[in-house]
Each structure stands twice: as C-alpha cells, then as structure tokens.
C-alpha cells in the first residue's frame, strides 16, 4: 500500500512487529500507554492523532498529514462546525446557490471570529442553526442539495 506523508509517497508493507517502508525494515514496539513507540531502538511520542482525509499526527513535536494516495473525492452534503462556539452571523439563505469560498457564517470561539466559507458550489437546502445559537464541534450547520 502507498501512503502520502506531507506530500511524499511511501511504500508500506506490514509484517508482524515489523513494517517495511520503501523496502527498509523497521522494528516497531508499542508501549503500554500507546503514546510511546519504539522504532529501531529509538523512542517516538505520538502526541496527537486526528482521523480524517488526510489524518493528522503529531509525533515528537512535528506535524504529519497522512493519507492513502488513491482516494476519490467524496461529495459533501453537509457543512459541520469545525469548532465549538457561537454563531454570531449568518450571511446566506435557504435556496440560494453559493459559490465555493463564499462566506456563509461567522462563528465565535476562543475570543476569535471565524469565517466559515463554503467548501463547494451548491444550492443551500437548509440552514440548521440560527443567529446567537451555540454549536458543538461536528454539529450540522447547513445542508446542501
């Protein structure tokens, strides 16, 4: 299988306790707490993982975005809150055709105003939140047709 890490592609082959990366064997041992990983005798700390496409990992204080190389583009039907906060403004309406990059809402979180722009060019089916409402991360804000 092929993995893309920060733009570079690696060939991966998984065997027991060993992983072959670009045909080079790495001995790997995970510790009990799973945040510490020994690779060829060196310790690496996996501080943060967030699944997605790509997935995000922070290892030893460095950021890695990892994805499988061949992934078809999934079409979006819903726009969800990227962070918990409060909707301070809604700049669009149901039924309107919006363009990619257009500002749809303004969310306030951690002393900041975050503009939420549309990832797609589509018609808005429904706006699921109202101005002043508090939302949690992952809550559906808008559905597209």
């Amino acid at each position: 299988m092929k993995l893309k890490v920060n733009g570079t592609i690696y060939d991966i082959e998984i065997m027991q306790q060993k992983v072959k990366v670009n045909n080079e064997k790495l001995d790997m041992v995970t510790s009990m707490d799973e945040e510490k990983i020994m690779i060829n005798g060196k310790t690496y700390h996996l501080d943060f993982v967030e699944e997605g496409q790509p997935s995000l990992m922070i290892i030893n204080g460095m950021t890695y975005f990892v994805s499988k190389t061949s992934l078809s583009h999934i079409s979006l039907h819903e726009l969800k809150a990227p962070i918990s906060g409060k909707i301070v403004d809604i700049l669009t309406m149901t039924g309107i055709v919006i363009k990619e990059g257009q500002v749809l809402m303004i969310l306030e979180a951690m002393k900041m105003e975050i503009q939420i722009k549309s990832p797609v060019s589509k018609r808005i089916k429904e706006i699921k939140v109202s101005k002043g409402q508090s939302v949690k991360i992952g809550d559906i804000l808008i559905s597209f047709e």
Partner: protein, 500 residues
C-alpha cells in the same frame, strides 16, 4: 490609613499563578476570581480564596469592573492586580479603583489614559522619540488628503483600539474609501469609538520593545525584547537581547524608552514598543501592563518584574536601580497555544497528559494539568516555555530540546510551529522581521518514513487502510481538512488582528 496585605488578582490562568507567587514572596495574600467555566482552573488553587464572578463570557465576568471591585471588597482586598488583557489597560477601571479606595497595581490614571490613546501617546512621545509620520482623521475627505500628503502605502488604525483590530493597510487611493469605512466600523464594534488614525506604513519592520520599571523618583530600563515573530500581529516567539541591535543602537533605543516614560509620568512596570527598520527606530506605542513575554527579561536580568510592580504599589519603591542591571546571557520564549497546526484555529479540548520540560534555565509558566478541559471562551495561550542560555546558540539548542520533551496529549498545539521556526536558517542567523512566518518551511519533512510506519501500525488505521471505512466514515471528517483553508480569523481586542 494602613492598607491590609490582601491582593485581588483580577485575571485567570497562568498570570494569576505568576502574580500569586510574587505576592507570597513579599508576604502578601493573593485572592482570586473565576468565571463559571473556570471553576476547575488551576489558578484558584494558588489563591487563598476565590469568588465566582459570573458567566463564562469575558463581558459577563472578567471584563465587568463592577463585579471585580465588588469581589475585592467581599474578599477584603485593598490591592488589585489586573494581570494582562481584560481590565489591565482600562483607565476607567483605574479611576473606579481610585474612587473606591482600592490600590490599582499598575500605572497611575493619567499615564494609563495617555498610553491608551494612540494619538496622545504619539504626541507626547514625539517630543523625545522619532515617530512614523501620521495624523488623526475625522472624515473621508480628510483621509484622502492626508493619505496623499503621506504617500502610499499607508496604515489606518483605531485610536482607542489595540491588538490590530480596525487595522488596515492601504496601497492605493482606490482602496482607501472602503478601507476607511470598514476600519471605522470595526473600531466602533471593538472599542466603542470610531476615531481613526492614519500613518505611513512601514513594510516588514522588526518589533522591538523596551521593558521599563518605574517608581516615584526613578525610571529603570531592563533592556529590550525582540518580538518580530508574529502571526497576524500576535507574538509567538520573543527573545532578548535582540540580534538586530548594535551596542550603540541598544543604548539609544533604551535611553529613548526611558525618556518617553518620563514624559508620560509612568510608574510601575510597562513597555515601550518600537518599529525598527534599516537601522532606524520609531515609537509605536506604550503597553501599560505586565506583558506575556516578561519572563525572558527576568531570565537575563534576574529582576522579578511583578515583585517590582508590587513594591511600587506598596509605596516601597523599586529595589533595583540602573547601575545594578547587568543582563547576562540570552533568553527565548515560545508561546504554546492550543490550536490546529493547519488552520491555526483554536482547539479547545481535554488535555490527556501534560508533562513539562525541566532543567537548568528552563521555565514553564502555565495553568494546564493532565485532565484539564480548555474552555472555549478565552485566549488559546496554554503555556509559556522560556529557556535561558549563556549565549544565543545555547538558548536555541535548549529550547529545541525542551520542545521535544514537552508532552501535551489530546490537543494539538503550536509546538510543531516552534520546531520549524527554530530550525529555520533565518531564525538561526537572527536575520528576521515580521514577515518571517510568510516564508517559513515546515520542519516536518523529516522522519516521514517514521510517520508512515506509525500510522500503519495503529490498529484502527489498519482497518481504515483496508478499505472498510468507505461507508462508515463521516464524509465531514474526510473533508474537514479540505476546507480548513477557507478559514479567516479575526481576533478581538488585545489579541489581534486582521483579515488582509
């Protein structure tokens, strides 16, 4: 009247802990306040007693002068230390304290009022310091006239604002009208004042500031801090001494800062900020508070700046004078914020594990602990990592080691950013300005094979890789990163900044 020894620290998080330590050193008793979402904040444990002063939103709690003063009275405190942010630079709050017979730990009302008004501060400072050409404007015709006179590019700023809100850079007369209107609007919303100031825009300067402590009779400078590594006008890395200053230039800029503070009639701890470009400096503004980055100055001078603030407020005066300030070595601060490494969007959440680096010359100021949930209502700063070395090289190496051994699990932070910045040749050479971040290359190109191996090993990920995920996986999770690029961030007062 003899005052009691109780100090209300009207803030939250790490700065409360910092101030509480200085209080205890002098035999004073620290008291605290907290909002609803801060009831588990570590700062409460460092105070003898703390009062809940209201809802989570700052405007319902930490920004409510009346509630803060009420808390001081209930807790029997004669002194109030404002920390930074919130009420710390609000002259009306100083006045209120004075009227209520409470001692505000900071500059006197007049000095605060001048510092908070950019036009007045500039006017006063211009008697003794070079300033960037500029003037306050009151209408559209005015702004066009002045912009022509000064010459593009120009910058529009909120007179009574801070942190970059209302700030616009204008390159030509075509952009001027709309920039002026939006700047005015933003200033009105952010600061309740539509006063706008126009000045010559200096592109990519360095930000260098001078730390001052002052009492009734003396003004002492504690050297400068280089604060040019910023993102959207928010400082991320500071160091002292600045690699940009020659000895003569250092003497000139520190001397000028002292003269500015003399003109203002400043007392307590404060900072004079300058822009520095082509070996010339220009007065920018006065920060009338203790600053986030004060520990690097403490590391090289050995002076406890908060202790000096307290001594001045107690009427005892400074315990230092200019002759016994001899800065030694080099210090760097990295601000660790809870934020996503791609979008820089704040990332509140549960901190699963928190282990700070330790060692000689390493200081961590923080209110974090394992199991703590970072609330969504406040600043994303979660820790300040300060490293001292005999020289700049030693300080940088110590900082890299410390960042590597700093474990924050469960939330992403700016640690990867700092690793990249510290390994950037421009930083290593000390040749950088406020445009540093625009050209930064991620350090994470290293160890990509390790990352690939780690990823493939995690059981859950193997499932994902085998293709079972297609139907189960939430399409939003897939796309979340795709549209992170679409975020623009606007900060609030005291923090930053702007759209561009």
């Amino acid at each position: 009247m003899v005052n009691n020894n109780n100090v209300l620290i009207a803030n939250r998080g790490e700065i409360v802990i910092r101030v509480a330590r200085a209080c205890k050193k002098l035999g004073l008793h620290p008291y605290g306040i907290y909002s609803d979402s801060d009831k588990d904040s570590l700062h409460i444990k460092y105070c003898e007693q703390s009062l809940n002063i209201g809802d989570s939103l700052p405007q319902d709690s930490y920004l409510r002068a009346d509630k803060v003063i009420d808390a001081a009275k209930k807790l029997g405190c004669d002194y109030i230390h404002p920390g930074y942010g919130f009420l710390s630079e609000n002259p009306k709050f100083v006045e209120l304290c004075n009227n209520e017979g409470l001692i505000f730990i900071g500059p006197p009302y007049d000095a605060m009022a001048i510092s908070g008004d950019k036009v007045r501060a500039r006017k006063v400072a211009s008697k003794v310091a070079p300033v960037v050409e500029g003037i306050e404007v009151s209408n559209e015709n005015d702004v066009i006239k002045e912009a022509e006179k000064i010459g593009y590019p120009i910058m529009l700023k909120a007179v009574e604002g801070g942190g970059g809100r209302g700030l616009r850079i204008v390159n030509s007369s075509q952009e001027l009208d709309s920039a002026y209107l939006s700047s005015k609007n933003e200033a009105m919303v952010g600061f309740g004042s539509e006063r706008i100031y126009i000045e010559k825009y200096i592109e990519n300067p360095r930000h260098i500031e001078v730390q001052i402590v002052a009492d009734e009779s003396n003004i002492v400078h504690l050297g400068e801090r280089e604060c040019s590594i910023q993102r959207r006008h928010q400082k991320l890395i500071e160091e002292t001494p600045s690699p940009a200053l020659s000895t003569e230039m250092r003497n000139e800029i520190t001397h000028t800062a002292v003269e500015v503070m003399k003109e203002i009639g400043y007392k307590s701890a404060g900072t004079v900020e300058f822009l520095f470009k082509d070996n010339r400096f220009y007065f920018m503004e006065v920060n009338a508070r203790i600053q986030v980055e004060h520990p690097i100055t403490e590391a090289v001078t050995g002076v406890d700046i908060v202790e000096q603030q307290l001594l001045v407020a107690l009427g005892k005066g400074l315990s230092v004078n200019q002759q016994n300030i001899n800065p030694m070595g080099h210090a760097i601060e990295c601000r660790i914020n809870a934020e996503h490494p791609l979008s820089f969007v704040p990332f509140p959440g549960v901190v699963k594990k928190f282990n700070v680096p330790k060692g000689n010359g390493i200081r961590v100021d923080t209110a974090l602990y394992s199991g703590y949930t970072i609330p969504i209502f406040y600043d994303s700063l979660i820790a300040k990592l300060i490293c001292w070395g005999n020289n700049r090289h030693e300080a940088i190496e110590k900082m890299k080691d410390s960042l590597l051994s700093f474990r924050i699990l469960g939330i992403p932070s700016t640690i990867p950013f700092h690793m990249s910045a510290l390994n950037d040749t421009r930083f290593m050479d000390g040749c950088y300005d406020t445009s540093f971040i625009n050209k930064m290359i991620s350090f994470s190109t290293r160890d990509g094979d390790i990352a690939a191996a780690v990823f493939s090993l995690l059981p859950k990920r193997i499932e994902l890789l085998e293709g079972k995920e297609e139907e189960q996986q939430d399409p939003w999770m897939r796309s979340r990163f795709d549209w992170m690029d679409f975020f623009d961030i606007y900060y609030y007062p005291n923090r930053l900044v702007t759209s561009q």
